[in-house]
């Protein structure tokens, strides 16, 4: 692959003695949607959390291997972890708005980056809410607590909040699994829009969704990468037997 934005080399991860990620090698293309597929429990969430170093929060994790981002290994101990997390926002499976107003949820990341004052914040908050296709629904109630939004709106708010940090990469962990079909579609369309400016790495176990939006596919099974490549090739001409079984719905 030419100029992958992230390349993962020989990544192994253990929770205590459980070998969760087994010798992972992945290349993630720039400004494309990479979908990570696989049955539940195969390590997809763990992989995303390793990318932005959220696994650091767990006790008893052991990691080896390299994750290269802009030619720098982000797994070395003395790296600026908050810097990495700003570059790679994570949208989690269950929307988790922060315990504050809608406005402040989006302004949160901006403030962390040192921006102050409502006059400077307001236009940016609007811009990112528009990017997440939420502005029209909340523009009259920016002062409401975020917890009053519907789940689908909350997920879009989380997306807007993540975009406000100005990431290069958006990591999304089954971002539509908790949502109703209409909200899912909205998020999906938004991703198609966003890939013009961002690299998106999205976990899903919904095959149809992967077919709709993936440019690139990584298929994992029991902690290993079984097959990866351009989406069309993956779906039309899978090379591995396990992939064929999976596409036929054998593991679901």
């Amino acid at each position: 692959m030419e100029n992958p934005i992230i390349s993962i080399r020989n990544l192994n991860l253990y929770f205590e003695k459980q070998h969760v990620l087994k010798n992972i090698n992945i290349e993630i293309p720039h400004n494309k949607v990479t979908v990570i597929l696989g049955p539940s429990g195969c390590g997809k969430t763990t992989l995303l959390k390793t990318l932005n170093r959220l696994v650091d929060l767990h006790d008893h994790v052991k990691i080896s291997g390299k994750i290269m981002l802009d030619d720098k290994d982000i797994l070395v101990p003395n790296i600026d972890v908050t810097g990495i997390r700003k570059k790679m926002g994570l949208l989690s499976q269950k929307p988790s708005p922060l315990p504050m107003t809608i406005f402040n949820n989006v302004a949160y990341g901006l403030r962390i980056n040192g921006l102050r004052g409502k006059r400077k914040l307001m236009p940016l908050v609007e811009k990112h809410l528009r990017e997440a296709n939420l502005w029209d629904e909340v523009k009259d109630r920016l002062r409401d607590p975020a917890s009053r939004l519907s789940i689908g709106q909350q997920q879009r708010l989380c997306l807007a909040r993540g975009l406000a940090v100005n990431p290069e990469i958006i990591l999304a962990d089954e971002p539509t699994s908790a949502l109703d079909p209409i909200s899912s579609t909205v998020i999906e369309q938004q991703f198609a829009e966003l890939k013009k400016h961002y690299t998106i790495v999205m976990v899903t176990h919904v095959l149809r969704q992967a077919r709709r939006i993936a440019d690139h596919i990584v298929f994992m099974y029991l902690g290993e990468v079984i097959e990866q490549g351009p989406a069309r090739e993956f779906f039309n001409n899978p090379k591995e037997q396990k992939t064929r079984d999976y596409l036929k719905g054998a593991f679901n």
Binding site: N52, L54, L57, D59, T82, G83, R85, K86, G89, L90, S92, K94, S96, P97, L98, P99, M100, Y108, G109, I112, N113, P145, S147, C158, R161, G162, V165
Partner: protein
Amino acid sequence: MYNFVRKTKDTISEAWVKFVLMLIFLLPLVILASLLNKSWMVIQTSGIGDLLFSSVWRPMAGQFGFKPFIISSVYVTVLGLIITAPVCLLSAIYLTYYGSKRMTAFMQPIIDILAGIPSVIYGVWGVLIIVPFTGRFLAPLFGYESTGFSILSGGLVLAVMLIPFILNILIEIFRTVPHEQMEASLSLGASKWESIKHVAVRRSLPGIVSAFALGLSRAFGETIAVLMVVGNVVGIPRSPFDTGYPLPALIANNYGEMLSIPMFDSALMFAALVLLMVVVCFNLMSRYVIIFMEKRQ
């Protein structure tokens, strides 16, 4: 027949539960009524205003000004809470977010033991350690003269007693902050401390307020440990190194001996009434604050 027995049992146990609930509901009202009844005499004679705001305390002459006691109580309580609040908050944050699992497991029983120590023992410890420390070290340091039996000693002993009590509640509260929200904040590139400040503390604010309000009520009513270290001299304290005489200490020191003087007896009941009202008000106010804050999240 069998059904009849079951039904009867049901009816009886339901009636019993209702009766107990009724008692719990009535208890505060009964206490309030009896205190009011007993203190009615002194209220009639001296008037509420004089009782609360006069500082003339001459029981034998029938003059009961509670101002010195009320001020002592407020002084000791506020001092205790001011000393204890930052300690508890920071320790709870440390134990929840920074300490290792082993450290938390080690500290938890210690906190529980501290919470269970009878207040007399805190009082004795206060006399042995805190009083000399205040008298010989702190007072000269700030240019005061003091025997050590003082408002400050009372505040320090209270602070120590409150730590396990408030700390336990705070730890419990911080544990309820969803992991996902902390992760969301960290994912945005916030540092750990920023995430704690803006997410964990903010979300827990109603709980933190109620923890401190509970502590405040407890401190205001704490009798024996404070009584042992504040000096119990009637007078309005002018500095933390002055002696004081809080309301609960007044009641505990005089009740029983003074039953023979009806007006003094009535005055002490009035003191108890004030104590009760203050504690109830703390509770209601904190409840209001909590509801207000929860609405805004």
